[in-house]
């Protein structure tokens, strides 16, 4: 499908109607994971490891099972072991051997919070008492939290049989380094030899949590004939079904997953946690089992994103042309391999047109929760390092930082170092829009500084299904299977379908179908929702239109070529000899049943042709030199989204993503004690931004349409979180003349640096 329509042709796309899920959400009607209940349901709770690393010697559940009100207990023994088997499931390829162990520990616990048993009881308090009665004998082992320490040859090993992949010949000693990847292009050594200025720096970032406000919650109900129903808060109900079927050795057809409203995900709800446990407990107890995580469980046991150690070396000529770029990215994967180091390595320098590049990535296991995706997984970590060095290089060359980026910017036809040549992209357009923005020239006060940084994300397509059913009154029931994870894609899809059919948005009612209602859909991730979902909905609408034309041709007894679809009506085609009275969608709907049956359009696609997204951010900060406190004074996000189907919801993505990046830059971090136990598993000490920390976030939507999408959509959800880390660090550097290489920029760190720069202890 290619982009044919111009903005001026559009009636619905580009407008700002109200979201179909809105009224339910402002009245408290909307049902989230924890809001679903069944009669007779039990409450399930998980016993978690108090140790960062330990061998499980024995688990005794007899006392818990004997407690009145306890209906089922499950441990590792209730789940089949899984061999090494890789599958695409969400952010990255997963290995079922690891997935089943992360769901329920087998030989060892690998992090504080690792599940070791689960119970189902008639009340929450009884379930809690039951957990206290389960005896687990541990042999506590030395642990490792920090990625650099985990890479040392003498570090405690999480996986005795893990040999670093991607090195030939295969190493002879096991290692916490699960994988080494390398991307290179050209001759880096020659590039650095030609460089007149070289900047080389090392950066560290902390793991941060997606911080969705709704803890994971699910409800499972199984039957004696082996069927299971699951209600859960997820970014991908089809992928959850596939994983539950695998881990529980069930046929896919026996599991029906109904997605609830999701209270935020950002990548953190791509992966199963309690779902298979709830089904297993329900199978054992013959009762529905509801499992809701506490906030503490969310922090201790669900995926943060990686912390990273990144080394960057950049060379340039005095006139501002980059001659060579090199980086090493070392990412925490947590307890099991599979961090986002690969995509991070692939987009580290991809905003630039470079002849000589070398990027090495290491995926490193350590005693933390297995990382999960978080909005442009890995890219913010890489961009923090690279965009900081780009900024420092521009300063050394005395070139305006946007100008320096423009001199080296990737454009259409630029050969990336990870794969394809770029098609139509809008990076330069975002840089120019930022340079032209009044914010970029506004005056600054003392201790204030301005920083810029840019971000790139690939965006993806993937498997997507949709149905467009023409109702008997001419209204439309739209069912799609790519979840609306709250960005407003339900509205966007209804808008595209209304545009195609030439009817009002209000006449299209979109709903998300469960796993029994539609063909397979990939998770909502990679900024694919409106892109791929839209492609499927448009294809389904176009199929419906074809069927409408054929039906009208039959009713009016004219050849189908004589029937055109326009403004919600079947009309005589322009210049056709066959004239007939036009039929509106309502008229067709009314007679459809009596003229061959109801009319629908369907699409089951694997969307290709995703368009890369680029963004440029400008931020002003003020630093309190006496306390190290950083205040964000002004923030502007400029991003190419291809086309904004619903501009207000696109702005919401840009603002929300930027603020998540601000939290990452300033205060968010995990604090582990020497015992490897997480010390801040709550919103009091894991500090996400609050309303009073922030200014308004200005947005500039740039539209360089993606030629492969019928409306030019690229996707927009992930790019906005990439630039803030470096943009803020660059602004602080301008404000106080000190560059920071470690996040978060928390007041103690900033104050110490200020004191050291002044030549004294803080």
């Amino acid at each position: 499908m290619s982009s044919t329509l111009k903005p001026q042709d559009l009636k619905v796309v580009g407008s700002r109607p109200l979201r179909p899920d809105g009224v339910d959400k402002v009245t408290g009607r909307a049902r989230y994971g924890a809001d679903v209940n069944l009669s007779g349901q039990l409450i399930g709770k998980v016993l978690r490891s108090p140790h960062a690393h330990a061998r499980i010697l024995a688990i005794d559940t007899s006392l818990a099972e004997a407690l009145p009100g306890v209906k089922a207990v499950v441990t590792r023994d209730d789940f089949p072991d899984m061999p090494e088997e890789y599958a695409a499931a969400g952010e990255l390829t997963i290995n079922y051997r690891d997935v089943t162990r992360n769901m329920m520990a087998r030989e060892k616990v690998l992090y504080d919070g690792h599940p070791v048993a689960a119970v189902a009881a008639i009340s929450e308090s009884i379930a809690r008492q039951a957990l206290a009665l389960i005896k687990v004998d541990y042999e506590v082992l030395p642990h490792v939290i920090d990625v650099r320490e985990a890479m040392r040859p003498d570090a405690p090993l999480l996986h005795e049989a893990q040999y670093t992949e991607g090195i030939s010949p295969r190493p002879d000693r096991p290692s916490n380094i699960a994988k080494r990847i390398e991307f290179s292009r050209g001759d880096v050594a020659a590039g650095f030899a030609r460089a007149e200025v070289i900047v080389e720096r090392e950066f560290n970032t902390q793991p941060v949590h997606q911080g969705y406000i709704e803890p994971q919650a699910c409800l499972a109900s199984t039957t004696e004939d082996g069927q299971a129903e699951l209600w859960t808060s997820t970014q991908g109900h089809f992928v959850f079904r596939a994983q539950c079927a695998k881990l529980l050795a069930m046929e896919v057809s026996r599991i029906r997953v109904t997605p609830t409203e999701i209270g935020g995900g950002f990548g953190g709800k791509n992966n199963i946690y309690n779902e298979p446990l709830a089904i297993a407990l329900s199978r054992k107890s013959h009762r529905p089992v509801k499992m809701v995580m506490s906030r503490e469980e969310v922090f201790r046991a669900t995926g943060p994103t990686s912390g990273g150690n990144v080394k960057v070396k950049l060379g340039a000529t005095k006139d501002g042309r980059i001659t060579a770029a090199q980086a090493e990215l070392n990412f925490q994967a947590g307890a099991y391999p599979g961090s986002s180091v690969a995509p991070a390595s692939m987009c580290a320098f991809t905003r630039y047109d470079l002849d000589n590049v070398r990027v090495i990535g290491h995926d490193v296991t350590c005693n933390r929760p297995k990382v999960a995706a978080y909005r442009a997984p890995g890219a913010p970590i890489a961009a923090f390092a690279v965009e900081s060095v780009i900024d420092e290089m521009a300063a050394k060359l005395a070139i305006d930082p946007l100008e320096f980026r423009l001199k080296n910017a990737a454009r259409e036809g630029t050969q990336t170092y990870y794969g394809p040549k770029f098609g139509t992209i809008g990076y330069v357009e975002t840089l120019e829009a930022a340079r032209a923005h009044p914010h970029y020239r506004a005056p600054l006060g003392p201790n204030q500084g301005r920083g810029v940084a840019t971000g790139f994300w690939f965006n993806i397509g993937g498997e997507t299904s949709a149905s467009v059913n023409i109702n008997e009154d001419g209204t439309v029931a739209l069912m799609h299977g790519t979840l609306d994870v709250a960005g407003g894609s339900r509205a966007a899809m209804a808008m595209m379908v209304a545009e195609e059919l030439g009817i009002a948005y209000e006449h299209v009612r979109p709903i998300v179908g469960d796993t029994a209602a539609l063909g397979f859909n990939f998770i909502t991730a990679g900024s694919r929702g409106t892109f791929a979902g839209g492609m499927a909905c448009v294809a389904a609408a176009r199929q419906a239109i074809e069927r409408l034309r054929h039906r009208v041709a039959a009713i009016r007894e004219v050849p189908v070529e004589a029937v055109a679809w326009q403004d919600g009506c079947a009309r005589p085609a322009e210049g056709s000899a066959h004239q007939f009275a036009p039929m509106s969608l309502a008229e067709i709907g009314r007679v459809a049943g009596r003229t061959g049956g109801t009319i629908a359009g369907h699409a089951e696609i694997n969307a290709q042709g995703a368009g890369p997204g680029f963004g440029t951010h400008i931020v002003d900060v003020e630093v309190d030199r006496e306390t190290g406190a950083i205040r964000v004074l002004r923030y502007t996000v400029v991003q190419d989204v291809g086309r904004a189907i619903h501009p207000a919801y696109v702005e919401g993505q840009l603002q929300g993503g930027a603020v998540q990046g601000i939290g990452w830059a300033l205060n968010e971090e995990y604090v582990y004690g020497a015992d490897g136990v997480l010390q801040n598993p709550g919103f009091l000490d894991y500090r996400i931004p609050v309303a009073s920390d922030l200014p308004f976030i200005d947005t500039v939507i740039v539209e360089v349409p993606n030629p492969r999408h019928p409306y030019g959509v690229r996707g927009c959800g992930e790019v906005p979180i990439i630039a803030p880390l470096a943009a803020i660090a660059n602004a602080v550097a301008q404000a106080i003349g000190i560059r920071f290489f470690d996040l978060p920029l928390s007041p103690p760190r900033v104050l110490r640096a200020i004191a050291e720069a002044a030549g004294g202890p803080a």
Partner: protein, 291 residues
């Protein structure tokens, strides 16, 4: 595990009797904003909760002895909304304003903030600087104690078995007095104080500081009254020189720890900064306040 009971006595005597009778297995429930969290995390497992909010006077703010009697179960929002109290003791209100969110302040009480005995409690340094006195009732009758003597250490008070804090007494206020409380937190709201500083001072007609009390929070195992810091202000115009002495005295008195909320060195340096900024606000308020 024995089940937890709940009692809402209507008289102080009944409450004291219940508390004394429970041999330490009971907890007093006022606002509950700390207690419920400690129960949820399993840090405490009381067998009996004694809700004191129904006891007459516990939730009232009354003028008394030229100052105020603030019931132990008075909530943060009640105090913030009491226009005349806020005029007299803006620094105490500064402290109360910083206790959690609006939601938390709708429940959190002054008595609770004191008896929870957190070194970082925001209202406590301000109350100490104000010279507030705690009214205490117990099996052996009633007594009064300076607020700075009530907290013994993290989570520990000097209250005897069966004793309950019933009210806080704020003394009369001379003209040209002003107080202020400032704290440092990483975010603008919703954090626990990394450092808290309260200054209460009185000026004479010439603008010389005649009386002062300075208290610090989160820099030791409990909120500290720092006479040396007050001495740095008394007899001065609270000018740059005095503020320098004040900061030095505050840092000298601080015995902070390293924890997840801040390093020792950070607390030491920030204590000096916060106490000076608080003194400047208190000074401005004292100048404007003609009694």
């Amino acid at each position: 595990m024995s089940e937890m009971r709940y009692a809402a006595p209507k008289t102080l005597a009944a409450a004291v009797a219940l508390l004394a009778g429970a041999q330490g297995r009971a907890r007093v429930l006022a606002g509950g904003t700390d207690l419920l969290i400690q129960m949820r995390t399993g840090r405490i497992k009381p067998e009996l909760l004694i809700d004191i909010k129904g006891i007459p006077g516990m939730g009232e703010i009354v003028a008394e002895r030229g100052g105020y009697r603030v019931g132990a179960a008075v909530t943060g929002m009640q105090l913030i909304e009491h226009a005349d109290f806020a005029k007299r003791w803006p620094g105490v209100v500064d402290g109360v304003r910083l206790i959690g969110s609006i939601q938390v302040k709708g429940r959190a009480t002054l008595g609770g903030n004191l008896c929870n005995a957190s070194p970082a409690a925001d209202s406590v340094p301000a109350l100490i600087a104000a010279g507030a006195v705690a009214c205490i009732a117990g099996p052996d009758g009633a007594r009064e104690a300076a607020v700075e003597t009530v907290v013994a250490g993290p989570g520990k008070t000097s209250l005897a078995a069966g004793e309950i804090v019933t009210a806080l007494l704020l003394p009369p206020r001379p003209a040209h007095s002003g107080d202020a409380y400032l704290r440092f937190t990483p975010r603008s709201e919703m954090d626990i104080a990394v450092v808290g500083a309260a200054v209460n001072l009185t000026l004479d007609a010439q603008g010389i500081c005649t009386q002062a009390r300075v208290a610090l929070g989160a820099v030791a195992s409990r909120a500290l009254l720092v006479p040396e810091a007050a001495a740095a202000l008394i007899g001065t115009r609270v000018d740059a020189g005095a503020l320098g002495q004040l900061a030095a005295a505050a840092r000298a008195a601080s015995r902070p720890i390293d924890d997840k909320r801040g390093s020792r060195e950070f607390r030491l340096s920030t204590a000096g900064v916060m106490v000076c900024r608080a003194a400047e606000i208190a000074l401005e308020r004292a100048r404007r306040n003609d009694g």
